[in-house]
């Protein structure tokens, strides 16, 4: 189970509302390499993992991704705060306004809704951990592209925190992969 803590993992800040960046940033909410994809992928892959290390790392990174999802939601909330229909439309968010008003929704930067086809569970720990490592690299690259799209120092600070987390997650998944392969070799599973 999970227990909600009434605080963010990191003090998520923006200098000013910015609908243009909100439109791009939403992809880390509901896009292919976003935090929802990450959390749901890892938490779902736990059940076919053979070792305690892999069960633990998927549980704990999956849980941290939920905290990142909340940070992204907070950033989008702050970037779109008080925006009128007209301002939304001018920023290319008229379609979003028609469907959701100012509410958040799980979409990518071009408005496509989140889909389970973004994630896989192969049941093979080596295959799944490789997918997870690739997912972390794709998320890291996405944060870099988002940082390149803005000059808001507060937003960059928060995005950079998230970018570096992906590097750490990649490292831990790599270690888990090595340990799983060692385990499989010792058990002579081919």
């Amino acid at each position: 189970m999970w227990i909600y803590e009434k605080k963010l993992q990191y003090p998520a800040k923006v200098s000013k509302p910015d609908l243009r960046m909100a439109k791009y940033l939403i992809t880390q909410y509901g896009g292919p390499d976003g935090e929802l994809s990450a959390a749901l992928r890892y938490l779902n892959q736990r059940y076919s993992m053979p070792t305690n290390v892999t069960k633990a790392i998927l549980t704990d990174i999956g849980t941290e991704e939920m905290a990142h999802l909340e940070i992204i939601a907070t950033l989008v909330y702050k970037l779109t705060k008080g925006a009128s229909a007209e301002e939304m439309e001018r920023a290319g968010l008229g379609g979003h306004y028609a469907d959701h008003d100012n509410a958040l929704y799980y979409v990518d930067a071009t408005g496509n809704p989140w889909t389970a086809t973004y994630i896989q569970a192969k049941g093979d720990p080596v295959a799944d951990l490789h997918e997870d490592m690739a997912a972390e690299e794709k998320a890291r690259a996405t944060y870099q592209w988002l940082i390149d799209l803005t000059d808001d120092p507060d937003l960059i600070d928060t995005l950079n925190f998230l970018r570096v987390r992906e590097i750490v997650h990649f490292q831990r998944f790599g270690e888990a992969l090595d340990l799983v392969q060692e385990y499989q070799n010792s058990k002579h599973i081919f």
């Binding site: 227990i3 803590e5 009434k6 003090p11 290390v53 704990d60 990174i61 907070t74 909330y77 831990r172």
Partner: protein
């Protein structure tokens, strides 16, 4: 949110982040006893700071509300409303 409350919240966030870093590291290095001790010390300090926060400003998890004078779990600000 007053400055003092915000500073304490940020201290808690920093400590909890440190604990998370040790947590993930220890998942793949469970035999590292030195890291385990660092984790334990961080969590002890984190618990003290959270208790201080809860006593002065309200609950961080719903169970904390049991030691509050009334049902203030619902009070604002919610996490996304805080201006840092």
């Amino acid at each position: 949110m007053h400055r003092e409350q915000l500073e304490l919240l940020k201290r808690i966030q920093a400590l909890e982040f440190t604990a998370t870093e040790f947590n993930l590291y220890l998942d793949t290095h469970p035999g590292d006893q030195r890291a385990f001790i660092d984790f334990s010390n961080t969590v002890r300090e984190l618990e003290q700071q959270k208790e201080l926060y809860t006593r002065n400003y309200g609950p961080l998890i719903v169970d904390d509300t049991a030691r509050q004078p009334c049902w203030n779990w619902i009070d604002d600000p919610w996490p996304w409303e805080i201006e840092y």
